[in-house]
């Protein structure tokens, strides 16, 4: 049986990737470049940590540590040789919604490497001895996180913003006692139930002809047949209505980490660009935006302070993070409050909007310079359904945002009276 060659579409301007849907529902996206004689492969499966069963949080993370350690036809040793002999580092990432296998290889190695990654994704053998070894690594990583104020603060903040077991609020690595009792059967079931061709997006960017890459993708994945997985419910997350604050004393540390945040909007919300521009003014432009200008530049309190916004399938977070001396924690939190209050009362200026807009538009050639960066961009555009011409449309979307739009986005997103604040480090509540 030979898989059929999928039909394809591609826009005429910009990145102009080729998109082809296979009969089984898998999606291929390809873009040829000639920067280096190398190719980036990104295989993203919509089977991220939100697929963790409620009683097995961390199972997806452990699966990601083992999925590349043996397949139906290759041992872990075989895979090690195939990758290492070609100088390839395979990175496996888990987000709330996605598990992805990503690597860059020399162009000459593209076909065998793509086939190998496909086999890992479709037919991992998940050997018991590998599970035992990787469990030890995961347990150690969880212990390291427990001693890391930045991780503790961020994880606790997410748990407060997304309470009651919401998938966005759970620790991706899970808890030690849960990880230790995860069985091979549990991982096999997780893979069987969540991995299917209709959940796959395969992106290839680099020094390979797109038609050839598409043909290889069709050959590797075209015969894979599996029913779509049952949908995993994901509740909308209402915003926190009152200010809340948590202190995690870590008296063995020298510096305290502050995580301060809110839930915001969905990626599909039409005000996304306004929120993105607001965040850039607040905590990105010129080393930390308004927050950086106040807390780092004027007051000299922190080496790092910034904000980030991550709208997702449901309402994503806006996070402000800073690392400060324990003596400056209260002053830093008050400064964040003050900057947010100023933002709400006075809004941003036309110049600030113009500066940030020019930056975000002007940064696109740089942001899409490397194969890996293009692959990441295409995966995101595909996941959120932004369209093959999103790189071409994005400047106009940003240009269409008005000052009122940005200030309204601020009013919706960042009221200090309903902020959630976590402080982890050598600091105790007085």
């Amino acid at each position: 049986m030979t898989p059929s060659i999928p039909s394809a579409t591609r826009p005429e301007k910009g990145l102009a990737p080729l998109r082809a849907a296979l009969e089984n529902g898998a999606v291929f996206l390809g873009k040829q470049t000639h920067t280096t004689p190398a190719v980036t492969i990104s295989l993203a499966m919509r089977a991220g940590s939100m697929c963790d069963p409620r009683d097995a949080v961390g199972a997806t993370w452990l699966l990601s540590r083992v999925i590349d350690r043996g397949t139906a036809t290759r041992s872990a040793r075989d895979i090690a040789d195939e990758l290492d002999n070609r100088g390839i580092s395979l990175t496996i990432m888990v987000t709330r919604h996605i598990m992805s296998l990503v690597c860059t290889c020399l162009a000459d190695d593209f076909e065998p490497v793509f086939s190998l990654l496909g086999e890992m994704l479709m037919e991992p053998s998940l050997p018991d001895d590998e599970i035992a070894t990787r469990k030890g690594e995961v347990v150690t990583a969880i212990r390291q996180d427990e001693d890391n104020p930045a991780v503790r603060a961020t994880e606790a903040l997410m748990a407060l913003l997304y309470p009651h077991g919401h998938p966005y609020g759970r620790r991706t690595k899970g808890a030690i006692e849960v990880v230790e009792r995860l069985s091979r059967e549990r991982l096999v079931r997780l893979h069987a139930e969540g991995f299917a061709p209709g959940e796959l997006t395969a992106v290839v960017v680099g020094d390979v002809e797109v038609e050839r890459a598409r043909e290889i993708a069709g050959r590797v994945f075209g015969l894979w047949r599996k029913s779509p997985p049952a949908p995993v419910p994901l509740a909308s997350q209402p915003p926190v209505t009152a200010r809340q604050r948590l202190v995690i004393p870590m008296m063995n540390k020298a510096q305290a980490d502050i995580a301060y945040g809110f839930t915001t909007i969905r990626r599909a919300d039409p005000t996304y660009e306004a929120l993105r521009l607001m965040n850039h003014v607040l905590g990105q432009y010129a080393l930390g935006g308004r927050l950086g200008a106040s807390i780092r530049e004027r007051q000299g309190m922190a080496y790092y302070v910034s904000s980030s916004v991550d709208p997702n399938v449901v309402e994503g977070p806006l996070l402000i993070r800073a690392g400060v001396s324990p003596a400056n924690v209260d002053r830093a939190v008050a400064s964040i409050d003050q900057e947010l209050t100023r933002l709400l009362q006075d809004g941003i200026s036309a110049k600030e909007l113009d500066d940030s807009r020019r930056y975000l538009i002007g940064a696109m050639p740089r942001a899409l310079e490397t194969n890996a960066a293009i692959a990441t961009f295409l995966q995101s555009a595909e996941f959120f359904g932004l369209g093959l011409d999103y790189d071409v449309r994005m400047p106009d979307l940003l240009r269409a945002v008005t000052l009122d739009d940005v200030n309204e986005a601020a009013r919706r997103a960042v009221n200090p009276e309903r902020a959630t604040i976590v402080i982890a480090g050598p600091y105790e509540e007085t």
């Binding site: 004689p37 090690a80 990175t91 070894t133 030890g136 010129a286 004027r298 310079e369």
Partner: protein
Amino acid sequence: MRERARVGVGSREAMIDDARTSAGGNGYGRAVRQVTLENGLTVIVQEEHTAPLASVWCWYKVGSKDERPGLTGVSHWVEHMNFKGTTNIPRDQVKGIIEQFGGSWNGYTFIDQTTYLETATRDALDRMLFIESERMTSCLYHPDDCESERTVIISELQGGENDPDQLLDQELTATAFKAHPYRHPTIGWISDLESMSRDDLYGYYRRYYVPNNATLVVVGDVDTDEVLRRAEHYFGSIPAGQAVRRPHTIEPEQTGERRLTIRRRGTTAYLKVGYHAPSVSDHDFFPVLILDAVLTGAKGLNLWSSFRLPPPQRSARLFHSLVERGLASSVSGSLLPTEQPFLYTVSVTATEGTAHASAESVLIEELDRVRREGITEAELARAKAQLRARLVFESDSVTNIAHQLGYFETVATLGVYASLPTRIAAVSVDEVSTAARTLFRDTNRTVGWFDPMPMDAA
């Protein structure tokens, strides 16, 4: 091809040295133009027309090894001060000036070098050159800014101390070096950061930020002759400074194993073992680079980009003996291309419940084994393949290419950079065996542990 000529640049018709370098293979095949202006500034240009971008880096041959006791951390602090406004760029515009072009900017300081960069669309080239010329001559060093930056840098130091691995690295280096200024951390010692004055900072800036101690690198969608004319326009009239005096201390040969243990509250045990290693200009550097690839996987040689991509190490000896056997959750090797002999360091994160003695003894036994038996031809071939691939992967942007040109010119020569593929290809099994025998002597070893105390310990 390599040639030297004298050509005129710009309206000044300055007499300059001009060298064109072209190295073959793996992205090293592009023509590079190297020119020295009359005032001693080295200018390196490489055209890359794959994206409408240009990357500008200005490198200074000054790093923490140039610091005397009492002024540790001054190179890094000066770097921070050089983002705080100049005579012609107001303080509140210095960070946004390049972002209006969608550009990125940054800087870093390390043991041999301090560097600044901007990458933006090619139409920002003039602005980027202007910023760097201003940075070389006209930074303000307002006393209030010096004071506010003191606490920022102390915050940076404290953030590093939060990480047990980083703390151990600092202590290991300080123990391995007795005399050479590589021994103190780039961030500096806290007492020096608390006591340094504005005059200390400004005096240091004026001494080292002179054209004859700098290299300007431009890579991107540019015309080489035009770049040289613009470089002459912005930098040609800056007077040369006095020749910089370099530290001349040579680290005496280590005569016995050194050992330290940090005991603090924590959750995880970390082990580091360091050996004095050759500088990048030393012929023996490349056999050690191969040796590291065999032991822990090849990292490549780009400090700016290599940390973003973990090494291929599933077949590496130490990964196999420590991680695959469950004794460690990670192992890594570090051989930095430095101007003077630095360290080869192996770092291990012990898994929960692993006895320290067993992790250390397995590590030392593997190093002894390679010292006794050397490596195989198959391992050599794999290491070379990995390094060939890494040299391609780490040259995937104008920013990364520009970093490498400036980095090697600063810590060695552009010729060393151009010859990386051939130097790596020329390494033999025998050379690696000799390097292992020289390196992994117990008298050349420093062992450091972070031994976590229970979180409820007093």
